[in-house]
């Protein structure tokens, strides 16, 4: 079973990101579960959402404590929230940041990747909502969920222009990660 934890701030589409990732995994023929951490989801407040993906039915309802993958939608959360808690030593953390991974100085043996998702979101979506870009980066690096399934999940949830913009953002993230593969930044 693969476990993903998403950290972000209220308004960044954290729950939507979890929902889209799990839906895409479901479309890929897997079993998936997504749920929010049920905090007071005010704009700007730190929030979490969880995703599990497996080949068989997922029964557990526990919060994700030891994720294989972390998606951090705001680099400044790292200073205030213990985002790395429980991350598997051989795991991966993707941070929405305008810096190189090593500049974040994260205390982890896990792989660290960064992408300036807010900037890309402002360019393509026109709003500072980084979730589609973060999902795109995740799919691109891990290959766990197909980009095509995420596209379908996005269009299902946001039919029309919003969906199209987010699909474009997703594709841009994929291009960037593919181009940057093997390079630090």
């Amino acid at each position: 079973m693969i476990e993903i934890r998403i950290h972000g701030r209220g308004g960044q589409g954290n729950v939507a990101a979890a929902e889209l990732l799990a839906n895409a995994a479901f479309k890929d023929g897997k079993y998936a579960q997504a749920f929010p951490s049920f905090g007071a989801e005010r704009i700007g407040a730190p929030v979490q959402a969880f995703v599990r993906i497996d080949t068989k039915k997922i029964r557990t309802r526990e919060d994700v404590r030891e994720p294989n993958y972390l998606i951090v939608q705001d680099q400044y959360l790292i200073d205030t929230v213990p985002v790395l808690d429980g991350l598997k030593p051989d795991g991966l953390v993707i941070v929405n940041a305008d810096r190189c991974p090593e500049d974040l100085q994260l205390k982890t043996t896990a792989t660290v990747a960064t992408i300036p998702a807010t900037q890309i979101a402002l360019e393509i979506v026109g709003r500072p909502i980084p979730n589609a870009i973060m999902i795109g980066a995740f799919c691109s690096i891990t290959g766990l969920v197909s980009l095509e399934a995420v596209q379908r999940a996005i269009m299902e949830k946001f039919p029309g222009k919003t969906g199209e913009n987010n699909v474009a953002a997703l594709e841009r993230a994929h291009e960037i990660m593919q181009k940057g593969k093997g390079q630090p930044c």
Partner: protein
Amino acid sequence: MLKYLEGSHAVSQVVAMCRPQVISAYPITPQTHIVEDLARLVGEGQLDAEFINVESEFSAASVVLGAAAAGARTYTTTTSQGLLLMNEVIYCIAGMRLPIVLTCANRAISAPLNIWNDHSDSMTVRDAGWIQLHAEDNQEAADLHAQAFKIAEQTSLPLMVCMDGFILTHAFEPVDIPEQKEIDAFLPPFKPQHIVDPRWPRALGLYADPRFYMETRYILHRALEKSEQVISRVSADFAKSFGRESGGLIKTYNLEDAEVVIVTMGSIAGTIKDLIDQLSEEGKKVGLLQICSFRPFPKQEVYRVLKDKMNIVVLEKSVSLGRGGILASDIRWSFPRGEKGRSISSYIAGLGGRNISTDALREMVARVEKEQVDLAFLSLNQEIIAERDL
């Protein structure tokens, strides 16, 4: 058809297919997405029902009471403080034998304010004369609603489907959503036995002086007891029609040769099943008994499956303050009085959304293997309890 969707959405789809004629709900917090979906379906003309928006849960319960008394298939949903505000009407609905279906998205009660999951809300009305069925996952939550109208209408008893708030209502996972024609074949239209009708004036639930009142309670109690058969039969019919097991009185997992049995209700059963599989690989024999029907309480069924089990631990998400575990009391009462040698431990867990971790459950099992625990609160943080509070 297997769909990926939110728990609330799965429930609203099945409720809509059950063709309720009147739906009433308070649309503001505490509430779930269930009524939001149903309101949309009525608004878009996809569901031919009266959707009556009201100013409080007390009114929502009163509206469905009136509509059911007039012979309509009715539905409402609430949670937490909302159910408490309905309380007076909840008792009236049962006393009038109205087969209303209500979804309770189980959540904690104030004060202090807490919006998270536990079973405190539905426990406040466990003695009201309603059938209470607890769902394990979103598939079962959806399936129980199809069964609920059938059970309620066959028994003339109101029925509360309890599903864990947030943990199920807000979780996205695959759910097999039936076709309308399958539901139509399973659930016939509602044929009310007694209705209020201006053409033939009569009244319901008016007045019973000491010569009659006690008999009404006795009859209601017997009706609840007898509904066990209907709950089992409808669950079996459902399995025949839809090809999957859902609902019924109890469910068991790995019980046969279990040396320790965990008894619980609701969605935590899933986490426990995973733990049981892990423990099994380590050579530990642990089993699970899930109570689906909390009211009526299936005492005989519980005894039948647990009579040879000498180490039982009851894990529940509510507490009778000043007494202890509520489900634990019911489980203890299921065995003959005065018997010796059986260890029945009681754990309170997950109050107000406290995460119930596999590690904590593992520790619980290890402890009850050594001793009987009369009452313990799982994952209690002693650091935030001051000495003067105790």
